[in-house]
Protein backbone atom coordinates (compact mmCIF):
# COMPACT_ATOMS: atom_id res chain seq x y z
CA UNK A 1 0.00 0.00 0.00
CA UNK A 2 1.34 3.40 -0.93
CA UNK A 3 2.04 5.83 1.86
CA UNK A 4 -0.44 8.40 0.51
CA UNK A 5 -3.21 5.81 0.52
CA UNK A 6 -2.21 4.66 3.99
CA UNK A 7 -2.27 8.24 5.20
CA UNK A 8 -5.77 8.72 3.75
CA UNK A 9 -7.02 5.57 5.46
CA UNK A 10 -5.52 6.60 8.80
CA UNK A 11 -7.17 10.01 8.54
CA UNK A 12 -10.50 8.36 7.69
CA UNK A 13 -10.14 6.03 10.69
CA UNK A 14 -9.29 8.95 12.99
CA UNK A 15 -12.32 10.90 11.77
CA UNK A 16 -14.49 7.84 12.27
CA UNK A 17 -13.15 7.31 15.80
CA UNK A 18 -13.74 10.97 16.66
CA UNK A 19 -17.32 10.75 15.44
CA UNK A 20 -17.89 7.49 17.34
CA UNK A 21 -16.61 9.17 20.51
CA UNK A 22 -18.94 12.13 19.99
CA UNK A 23 -21.90 9.84 19.37
CA UNK A 24 -21.07 7.69 22.41
CA UNK A 25 -20.88 10.82 24.52
CA UNK A 26 -24.18 12.14 23.20
CA UNK A 27 -25.85 8.77 23.75
CA UNK A 28 -24.50 8.50 27.31
CA UNK A 29 -25.88 11.89 28.39
CA UNK A 30 -29.11 11.33 26.47
CA UNK A 31 -29.85 8.26 28.61
CA UNK A 32 -28.65 9.92 31.79
CA UNK A 33 -31.14 12.72 31.06
CA UNK A 34 -33.91 10.21 30.42
CA UNK A 35 -33.10 8.41 33.66
CA UNK A 36 -33.20 11.68 35.56
CA UNK A 37 -36.84 12.06 34.60
CA UNK A 38 -37.44 9.27 37.10
CA UNK A 39 -36.46 11.79 39.79
CA UNK A 40 -39.42 13.92 38.74
CA UNK A 41 -41.79 10.98 38.57
CA UNK A 42 -40.53 10.18 42.06
CA UNK A 43 -40.99 13.68 43.45
CA UNK A 44 -44.48 13.73 41.95
CA UNK A 45 -45.55 10.49 43.64
CA UNK A 46 -43.70 11.24 46.86
CA UNK A 47 -45.22 14.67 47.36
CA UNK A 48 -48.74 13.71 46.35
CA UNK A 49 -48.57 10.80 48.79
CA UNK A 50 -47.22 13.05 51.54
CA UNK A 51 -50.15 15.45 51.09
CA UNK A 52 -53.53 14.96 52.61
CA UNK A 53 -56.06 13.78 50.03
CA UNK A 54 -57.60 17.25 49.82
CA UNK A 55 -54.30 18.66 48.53
CA UNK A 56 -52.99 15.75 46.46
CA UNK A 57 -53.49 17.18 42.97
CA UNK A 58 -52.37 20.70 43.88
CA UNK A 59 -49.13 19.20 45.21
CA UNK A 60 -48.65 17.26 41.98
CA UNK A 61 -49.58 20.21 39.78
CA UNK A 62 -46.89 22.23 41.47
CA UNK A 63 -44.24 19.71 40.40
CA UNK A 64 -45.48 19.59 36.82
CA UNK A 65 -45.57 23.35 36.52
CA UNK A 66 -42.09 23.72 37.97
CA UNK A 67 -40.66 21.28 35.44
CA UNK A 68 -42.41 22.99 32.53
CA UNK A 69 -41.02 26.39 33.55
CA UNK A 70 -37.51 25.29 34.41
CA UNK A 71 -36.84 23.94 30.91
CA UNK A 72 -37.36 27.19 28.97
CA UNK A 73 -35.99 29.48 31.67
CA UNK A 74 -32.85 27.40 31.95
CA UNK A 75 -32.47 27.87 28.20
CA UNK A 76 -32.99 31.62 28.54
CA UNK A 77 -30.54 32.27 31.37
CA UNK A 78 -29.33 29.15 33.19
CA UNK A 79 -26.80 27.80 30.73
CA UNK A 80 -25.38 31.29 30.25
CA UNK A 81 -24.92 31.72 34.00
CA UNK A 82 -23.04 28.43 34.28
CA UNK A 83 -20.64 29.26 31.49
CA UNK A 84 -20.28 32.95 32.29
CA UNK A 85 -19.54 33.09 36.02
CA UNK A 86 -17.03 30.42 37.13
CA UNK A 87 -14.65 33.12 38.38
CA UNK A 88 -17.23 34.95 40.48
CA UNK A 89 -19.45 37.69 39.11
CA UNK A 90 -17.44 38.76 36.07
CA UNK A 91 -18.47 37.34 32.69
CA UNK A 92 -16.09 34.78 31.18
CA UNK A 93 -15.63 34.44 27.42
CA UNK A 94 -17.38 31.03 27.34
CA UNK A 95 -20.58 32.67 28.50
CA UNK A 96 -21.15 34.33 25.14
CA UNK A 97 -21.39 30.93 23.43
CA UNK A 98 -24.20 30.01 25.83
CA UNK A 99 -26.40 33.03 25.23
CA UNK A 100 -29.82 31.91 23.99
CA UNK A 101 -29.24 33.33 20.51
CA UNK A 102 -25.79 31.79 20.11
CA UNK A 103 -25.09 29.42 17.20
CA UNK A 104 -24.38 26.71 19.79
CA UNK A 105 -27.85 26.93 21.31
CA UNK A 106 -29.70 24.95 18.65
CA UNK A 107 -29.13 22.27 16.01
CA UNK A 108 -25.53 22.63 14.85
CA UNK A 109 -23.57 20.01 12.93
CA UNK A 110 -20.25 21.22 14.34
CA UNK A 111 -21.37 21.01 17.99
CA UNK A 112 -22.33 17.63 19.45
CA UNK A 113 -21.87 18.78 23.03
CA UNK A 114 -23.84 21.92 23.89
CA UNK A 115 -27.35 20.53 23.48
CA UNK A 116 -26.80 17.30 25.32
CA UNK A 117 -24.96 18.95 28.22
CA UNK A 118 -27.63 21.65 28.36
CA UNK A 119 -30.27 18.92 28.57
CA UNK A 120 -28.50 17.13 31.41
CA UNK A 121 -27.97 20.39 33.31
CA UNK A 122 -31.61 21.31 32.76
CA UNK A 123 -32.62 18.11 34.51
CA UNK A 124 -30.18 18.94 37.33
CA UNK A 125 -31.92 22.32 37.53
CA UNK A 126 -35.38 20.79 37.67
CA UNK A 127 -34.16 18.39 40.37
CA UNK A 128 -32.84 21.28 42.44
CA UNK A 129 -36.15 23.13 42.22
CA UNK A 130 -38.05 19.97 43.12
CA UNK A 131 -36.09 19.65 46.35
CA UNK A 132 -37.91 22.73 47.64
CA UNK A 133 -41.22 21.51 46.32
CA UNK A 134 -42.12 18.92 48.96
CA UNK A 135 -41.36 21.13 51.95
CA UNK A 136 -43.93 23.75 51.08
CA UNK A 137 -46.91 21.58 50.19
CA UNK A 138 -50.46 22.23 51.33
CA UNK A 139 -50.27 26.00 51.78
CA UNK A 140 -48.09 27.66 49.13
CA UNK A 141 -49.62 29.43 46.14
CA UNK A 142 -48.64 27.68 42.93
CA UNK A 143 -47.77 30.99 41.26
CA UNK A 144 -45.50 32.00 44.14
CA UNK A 145 -43.93 28.56 44.16
CA UNK A 146 -43.33 28.76 40.41
CA UNK A 147 -41.47 32.06 40.73
CA UNK A 148 -39.35 30.62 43.55
CA UNK A 149 -38.69 27.41 41.59
CA UNK A 150 -37.58 29.32 38.50
CA UNK A 151 -35.24 31.49 40.56
CA UNK A 152 -33.78 28.49 42.38
CA UNK A 153 -33.56 26.21 39.34
CA UNK A 154 -32.51 28.61 36.62
CA UNK A 155 -30.48 31.19 38.53
CA UNK A 156 -29.32 30.42 42.07
CA UNK A 157 -28.11 26.83 41.99
CA UNK A 158 -26.47 27.23 38.60
CA UNK A 159 -24.49 30.21 39.90
CA UNK A 160 -23.35 27.90 42.70
CA UNK A 161 -22.51 25.26 40.09
CA UNK A 162 -20.44 27.79 38.13
CA UNK A 163 -18.53 28.58 41.32
CA UNK A 164 -18.11 25.10 42.71
CA UNK A 165 -18.99 22.46 40.12
CA UNK A 166 -17.07 23.64 37.09
CA UNK A 167 -13.49 22.92 35.96
CA UNK A 168 -12.56 26.57 36.55
CA UNK A 169 -14.92 27.39 39.40
CA UNK A 170 -13.32 29.68 41.95
CA UNK A 171 -14.29 27.50 44.91
CA UNK A 172 -12.10 24.79 43.43
CA UNK A 173 -9.32 26.92 42.00
CA UNK A 174 -9.01 29.05 45.18
CA UNK A 175 -10.29 26.83 48.02
CA UNK A 176 -9.68 23.36 46.57
CA UNK A 177 -13.34 22.33 46.79
CA UNK A 178 -14.03 18.72 45.86
CA UNK A 179 -17.69 17.83 45.32
CA UNK A 180 -18.03 15.53 42.33
CA UNK A 181 -21.66 14.59 43.01
CA UNK A 182 -22.94 18.16 43.47
CA UNK A 183 -23.85 17.92 47.16
CA UNK A 184 -23.10 21.61 47.56
CA UNK A 185 -24.49 23.36 44.51
CA UNK A 186 -27.59 21.18 44.26
CA UNK A 187 -28.48 19.88 47.71
CA UNK A 188 -27.04 22.43 50.12
CA UNK A 189 -28.22 25.38 48.07
CA UNK A 190 -31.70 23.91 47.56
CA UNK A 191 -31.99 22.95 51.24
CA UNK A 192 -31.04 26.37 52.56
CA UNK A 193 -33.09 28.18 49.91
CA UNK A 194 -36.02 26.12 51.17
CA UNK A 195 -35.27 27.07 54.77
CA UNK A 196 -35.45 30.74 53.81
CA UNK A 197 -38.79 30.16 52.07
CA UNK A 198 -40.24 28.18 54.98
CA UNK A 199 -39.47 30.96 57.46
CA UNK A 200 -41.62 33.36 55.46
CA UNK A 201 -44.24 30.81 54.44
CA UNK A 202 -45.00 29.60 57.96
CA UNK A 203 -46.44 26.32 59.16
CA UNK A 204 -49.56 24.61 57.90
CA UNK A 205 -52.69 25.45 59.88
CA UNK A 206 -52.98 23.01 62.72
CA UNK A 207 -49.35 21.92 62.70
CA UNK A 208 -48.62 23.50 66.08
CA UNK A 209 -50.80 23.90 69.12
CA UNK A 210 -50.96 27.11 71.14
CA UNK A 211 -48.48 25.68 73.65
CA UNK A 212 -46.01 24.93 70.84
CA UNK A 213 -46.50 21.19 70.77
CA UNK A 214 -46.59 19.52 67.38
CA UNK A 215 -49.52 17.75 65.69
CA UNK A 216 -48.77 15.01 63.20
CA UNK A 217 -50.06 15.77 59.72
CA UNK A 218 -50.09 12.50 57.87
CA UNK A 219 -50.03 12.20 54.11
CA UNK A 220 -52.86 10.26 52.53
CA UNK A 221 -50.78 7.61 50.75
CA UNK A 222 -47.56 6.47 52.36
CA UNK A 223 -47.00 3.58 49.91
CA UNK A 224 -47.09 6.05 47.01
CA UNK A 225 -44.52 8.21 48.80
CA UNK A 226 -42.23 5.22 49.32
CA UNK A 227 -42.40 4.25 45.66
CA UNK A 228 -41.74 7.87 44.76
CA UNK A 229 -38.66 7.96 46.94
CA UNK A 230 -37.38 4.77 45.34
CA UNK A 231 -37.90 6.35 41.91
CA UNK A 232 -35.87 9.36 43.03
CA UNK A 233 -33.05 7.07 44.10
CA UNK A 234 -33.20 5.32 40.73
CA UNK A 235 -33.11 8.65 38.94
CA UNK A 236 -30.02 9.61 40.90
CA UNK A 237 -28.08 7.02 38.94
CA UNK A 238 -28.80 9.15 35.89
CA UNK A 239 -27.97 12.28 37.86
CA UNK A 240 -24.63 10.95 39.09
CA UNK A 241 -23.80 9.44 35.70
CA UNK A 242 -24.36 12.90 34.28
CA UNK A 243 -21.83 14.26 36.78
CA UNK A 244 -19.00 12.47 34.94
CA UNK A 245 -17.40 13.77 31.77
CA UNK A 246 -17.00 11.25 28.98
CA UNK A 247 -13.99 12.10 26.82
CA UNK A 248 -13.62 8.94 24.76
CA UNK A 249 -10.21 8.15 26.26
CA UNK A 250 -11.29 8.12 29.88
CA UNK A 251 -13.87 9.34 32.36
CA UNK A 252 -13.20 12.63 34.08
CA UNK A 253 -14.84 14.32 37.04
CA UNK A 254 -16.34 17.76 36.56
CA UNK A 255 -12.97 19.06 37.86
CA UNK A 256 -11.01 17.31 35.08
CA UNK A 257 -9.49 14.72 37.41
CA UNK A 258 -9.57 11.12 36.18
CA UNK A 259 -12.15 8.70 37.50
CA UNK A 260 -14.18 5.66 36.48
CA UNK A 261 -17.87 4.89 36.34
CA UNK A 262 -16.97 1.89 38.51
CA UNK A 263 -15.90 4.22 41.31
CA UNK A 264 -19.31 5.85 41.21
CA UNK A 265 -20.95 2.42 41.08
CA UNK A 266 -19.24 1.25 44.26
CA UNK A 267 -19.82 4.34 46.32
CA UNK A 268 -23.30 5.35 45.17
CA UNK A 269 -24.75 1.99 46.18
CA UNK A 270 -22.79 1.82 49.42
CA UNK A 271 -23.96 5.36 50.22
CA UNK A 272 -27.60 4.52 49.53
CA UNK A 273 -27.43 1.50 51.80
CA UNK A 274 -25.60 3.32 54.60
CA UNK A 275 -28.12 6.15 54.66
CA UNK A 276 -31.08 3.76 54.64
CA UNK A 277 -29.73 1.76 57.56
CA UNK A 278 -28.78 4.84 59.58
CA UNK A 279 -32.26 6.29 59.25
CA UNK A 280 -33.86 2.94 59.99
CA UNK A 281 -31.91 2.61 63.22
CA UNK A 282 -33.01 5.97 64.59
CA UNK A 283 -36.61 6.07 63.31
CA UNK A 284 -37.87 2.55 62.33
CA UNK A 285 -39.94 4.51 59.82
CA UNK A 286 -40.04 3.40 56.15
CA UNK A 287 -40.58 6.99 54.99
CA UNK A 288 -37.40 8.07 56.73
CA UNK A 289 -35.63 4.93 55.60
CA UNK A 290 -36.20 5.93 51.99
CA UNK A 291 -35.32 9.53 52.77
CA UNK A 292 -32.21 7.98 54.27
CA UNK A 293 -31.33 6.60 50.85
CA UNK A 294 -31.20 10.21 49.66
CA UNK A 295 -29.23 11.22 52.74
CA UNK A 296 -26.80 8.45 51.86
CA UNK A 297 -26.34 9.54 48.25
CA UNK A 298 -25.88 13.16 49.31
CA UNK A 299 -23.48 12.36 52.17
CA UNK A 300 -21.20 10.34 49.91
CA UNK A 301 -21.63 12.54 46.81
CA UNK A 302 -18.60 14.85 47.16
CA UNK A 303 -16.11 11.96 47.33
CA UNK A 304 -17.78 9.33 45.14
CA UNK A 305 -14.67 9.19 42.99
CA UNK A 306 -12.17 8.52 45.77
CA UNK A 307 -13.80 6.88 48.80
CA UNK A 308 -13.08 3.33 49.85
CA UNK A 309 -16.62 1.89 49.56
CA UNK A 310 -17.03 0.90 53.24
CA UNK A 311 -15.98 4.46 54.13
CA UNK A 312 -18.74 5.83 51.86
CA UNK A 313 -21.09 3.46 53.66
CA UNK A 314 -20.05 4.73 57.09
CA UNK A 315 -20.20 8.40 56.11
CA UNK A 316 -23.71 7.86 54.79
CA UNK A 317 -24.66 5.75 57.80
CA UNK A 318 -23.59 8.59 60.09
CA UNK A 319 -25.61 11.02 58.01
CA UNK A 320 -28.60 8.71 58.21
CA UNK A 321 -28.34 8.56 62.01
CA UNK A 322 -28.15 12.33 62.46
CA UNK A 323 -30.39 13.88 59.79
CA UNK A 324 -33.80 12.73 61.18
CA UNK A 325 -32.82 14.19 64.55
CA UNK A 326 -31.89 17.48 62.93
CA UNK A 327 -35.27 17.52 61.24
CA UNK A 328 -36.92 17.10 64.64
CA UNK A 329 -34.89 19.96 66.09
CA UNK A 330 -36.00 22.22 63.22
CA UNK A 331 -39.60 21.18 63.83
CA UNK A 332 -39.85 21.26 67.60
CA UNK A 333 -37.38 23.96 68.56
CA UNK A 334 -37.50 26.31 65.59
CA UNK A 335 -41.10 25.57 64.49
CA UNK A 336 -40.07 24.99 60.88
CA UNK A 337 -42.86 22.99 59.24
CA UNK A 338 -40.91 21.19 56.55
CA UNK A 339 -43.48 18.67 55.30
CA UNK A 340 -40.95 16.19 53.91
CA UNK A 341 -37.72 17.02 55.74
CA UNK A 342 -35.93 18.49 52.72
CA UNK A 343 -34.01 21.11 54.72
CA UNK A 344 -32.45 18.42 56.87
CA UNK A 345 -32.03 15.79 54.14
CA UNK A 346 -30.68 18.03 51.40
CA UNK A 347 -29.46 21.14 53.22
CA UNK A 348 -27.70 19.60 56.19
CA UNK A 349 -27.05 16.34 54.33
CA UNK A 350 -25.17 18.36 51.73
CA UNK A 351 -23.17 20.19 54.38
CA UNK A 352 -22.28 16.89 56.05
CA UNK A 353 -21.18 15.46 52.70
CA UNK A 354 -18.91 18.43 52.01
CA UNK A 355 -17.40 18.42 55.49
CA UNK A 356 -16.93 14.64 55.47
CA UNK A 357 -15.02 14.95 52.21
CA UNK A 358 -12.75 17.49 53.91
CA UNK A 359 -12.12 15.04 56.75
CA UNK A 360 -11.78 11.79 54.82
CA UNK A 361 -10.51 12.88 51.40
CA UNK A 362 -8.11 15.64 52.45
CA UNK A 363 -4.89 15.71 50.46
CA UNK A 364 -6.22 14.54 47.11
CA UNK A 365 -4.80 16.77 44.37
CA UNK A 366 -7.06 18.90 42.21
CA UNK A 367 -6.33 19.50 38.51
CA UNK A 368 -6.44 23.22 39.23
CA UNK A 369 -5.88 24.94 42.58
CA UNK A 370 -4.94 23.62 46.01
CA UNK A 371 -5.49 20.05 47.21
CA UNK A 372 -8.69 19.01 48.98
CA UNK A 373 -8.69 20.25 52.57
CA UNK A 374 -11.01 20.38 55.57
CA UNK A 375 -10.94 24.17 55.68
CA UNK A 376 -11.61 24.51 51.96
CA UNK A 377 -14.61 22.21 52.21
CA UNK A 378 -16.03 24.04 55.26
CA UNK A 379 -15.59 27.46 53.63
CA UNK A 380 -17.22 26.21 50.44
CA UNK A 381 -20.12 24.75 52.43
CA UNK A 382 -20.64 28.17 54.05
CA UNK A 383 -20.72 29.81 50.60
CA UNK A 384 -23.34 27.33 49.40
CA UNK A 385 -25.45 27.80 52.55
CA UNK A 386 -25.50 31.57 52.14
CA UNK A 387 -26.03 31.38 48.38
CA UNK A 388 -29.12 29.28 49.05
CA UNK A 389 -30.55 30.95 52.14
CA UNK A 390 -30.24 34.65 51.28
CA UNK A 391 -32.07 34.58 47.90
CA UNK A 392 -34.65 32.10 49.23
CA UNK A 393 -35.46 34.28 52.22
CA UNK A 394 -35.34 37.54 50.24
CA UNK A 395 -37.51 36.49 47.31
CA UNK A 396 -40.08 34.69 49.46
CA UNK A 397 -40.29 37.79 51.69
CA UNK A 398 -41.11 39.93 48.64
CA UNK A 399 -43.73 37.39 47.49
CA UNK A 400 -45.22 37.40 50.98
CA UNK A 401 -45.48 41.19 50.97
CA UNK A 402 -47.29 41.22 47.61
CA UNK A 403 -49.60 38.37 48.64
CA UNK A 404 -48.30 35.74 46.25
CA UNK A 405 -46.75 33.36 48.75
CA UNK A 406 -49.54 31.69 50.68
CA UNK A 407 -53.10 30.56 50.03
CA UNK A 408 -55.97 32.06 51.99
CA UNK A 409 -56.95 30.37 55.23
CA UNK A 410 -60.31 29.27 53.80
CA UNK A 411 -58.67 27.58 50.82
CA UNK A 412 -56.08 25.88 53.00
CA UNK A 413 -58.75 24.55 55.34
CA UNK A 414 -60.92 23.19 52.56
CA UNK A 415 -58.00 21.87 50.56
CA UNK A 416 -56.18 23.40 47.63
CA UNK A 417 -57.64 20.92 45.17
CA UNK A 418 -61.18 22.06 45.78
CA UNK A 419 -60.40 25.71 45.17
CA UNK A 420 -57.76 25.59 42.45
CA UNK A 421 -57.80 22.36 40.50
CA UNK A 422 -60.61 21.68 38.02
CA UNK A 423 -60.45 17.87 38.43
CA UNK A 424 -60.70 15.56 41.44
CA UNK A 425 -58.06 13.12 42.66
CA UNK A 426 -60.51 10.66 44.13
CA UNK A 427 -63.96 11.47 42.75
CA UNK A 428 -65.61 8.41 44.25
CA UNK A 429 -64.31 9.04 47.76
CA UNK A 430 -65.26 11.57 50.37
CA UNK A 431 -62.26 13.76 51.06
CA UNK A 432 -62.19 14.96 54.66
CA UNK A 433 -61.59 18.68 55.06
CA UNK A 434 -61.95 21.10 57.94
CA UNK A 435 -65.57 22.04 58.37
CA UNK A 436 -66.61 18.95 56.50
CA UNK A 437 -66.62 16.42 59.25
CA UNK A 438 -62.89 16.33 60.03
CA UNK A 439 -61.85 16.70 63.63
CA UNK A 440 -59.06 19.25 63.42
CA UNK A 441 -57.22 21.44 60.91
CA UNK A 442 -54.37 18.93 60.98
CA UNK A 443 -56.58 16.28 59.41
Amino acid sequence: MESAELQTRIEALEASLKMATAINSEAFYWWCTALMLAIHAGFLAYEMGASRAKNALASGLKNLVAFAFIVPTFFFVGWFIYNAFPTGLTISEAGYGALPWSANMGPNLSDNASGIFWAAFTLFAATTASIMSGSVIERIRISGFTILAIFLGSVVWILGAAWGWHPSGWLTSVLGLHDVGAAGCVHTIAGFFTLGVLINLGARIGRFNADGTVNEINGHNMPMSLIGLMLIVMGFFGFLGGCIIYTGDTWMTIYNTPTTLSAFGFNTLMGVAGGMLGCYLVTRDPFWMMSGALVGVISAAPGLDVYYPPLAFLISFAGGCVIPKLHNVLLTRFKIDDAVGAVAVHGFGGVWGLVACGIFAAGYPNAEGPAVSFLGQVESAAVFMLLGFVPGYGLSYVLKVVGLLRCSEEVEMAGLDLAEVPVKAYPESRIPAFGDGALSPAE
Binding site: F69, P72, W101, P107, R141, T146, L404, A414, A419, E420
Partner: protein, 57 residues
Amino acid sequence: MNASPITVWEGATAYFTFADSPLILSVVLVGAIAACVYAIVSMAQHETASSKKFKAK
Protein backbone atom coordinates in the same frame (compact mmCIF):
# COMPACT_ATOMS: atom_id res chain seq x y z
CA MET B 1 -41.09 32.42 4.21
CA ASN B 2 -37.72 30.74 3.89
CA ALA B 3 -36.76 29.50 7.35
CA SER B 4 -33.62 27.65 6.28
CA PRO B 5 -30.24 29.29 6.78
CA ILE B 6 -28.64 26.75 4.44
CA THR B 7 -29.07 25.82 0.81
CA VAL B 8 -26.85 22.71 0.85
CA TRP B 9 -25.82 20.36 3.69
CA GLU B 10 -22.12 20.34 2.82
CA GLY B 11 -20.22 22.52 5.29
CA ALA B 12 -23.35 23.33 7.31
CA THR B 13 -22.86 24.25 10.98
CA ALA B 14 -25.71 26.02 12.82
CA TYR B 15 -28.69 25.06 10.70
CA PHE B 16 -31.65 25.69 13.00
CA THR B 17 -34.56 27.73 11.72
CA PHE B 18 -33.72 31.40 11.16
CA ALA B 19 -30.12 30.91 12.40
CA ASP B 20 -29.03 33.54 9.86
CA SER B 21 -31.63 36.10 10.87
CA PRO B 22 -30.93 37.78 14.23
CA LEU B 23 -34.09 39.87 14.00
CA ILE B 24 -36.42 36.89 13.64
CA LEU B 25 -34.48 34.95 16.29
CA SER B 26 -34.95 37.89 18.67
CA VAL B 27 -38.67 38.05 17.97
CA VAL B 28 -39.07 34.31 18.58
CA LEU B 29 -37.00 34.44 21.76
CA VAL B 30 -38.92 37.40 23.15
CA GLY B 31 -42.14 35.61 22.23
CA ALA B 32 -41.08 32.51 24.18
CA ILE B 33 -40.14 34.63 27.21
CA ALA B 34 -43.44 36.50 26.97
CA ALA B 35 -45.36 33.20 26.88
CA CYS B 36 -43.67 32.15 30.12
CA VAL B 37 -44.37 35.47 31.82
CA TYR B 38 -47.98 35.38 30.64
CA ALA B 39 -48.40 31.84 31.98
CA ILE B 40 -47.24 32.90 35.45
CA VAL B 41 -49.46 35.99 35.47
CA SER B 42 -52.41 33.90 34.31
CA MET B 43 -51.69 31.33 37.01
CA ALA B 44 -51.67 34.01 39.72
CA GLN B 45 -54.92 35.51 38.38
CA HIS B 46 -56.57 32.08 38.33
CA GLU B 47 -55.55 31.44 41.94
CA THR B 48 -56.81 34.81 43.10
CA ALA B 49 -60.09 34.47 41.22
CA SER B 50 -60.77 30.92 42.37
CA SER B 51 -59.94 31.85 45.95
CA LYS B 52 -62.44 34.73 45.85
CA LYS B 53 -65.03 32.52 44.20
CA PHE B 54 -64.48 29.88 46.86
CA LYS B 55 -64.85 32.39 49.70
CA ALA B 56 -68.06 33.73 48.18
CA LYS B 57 -69.70 30.27 48.23
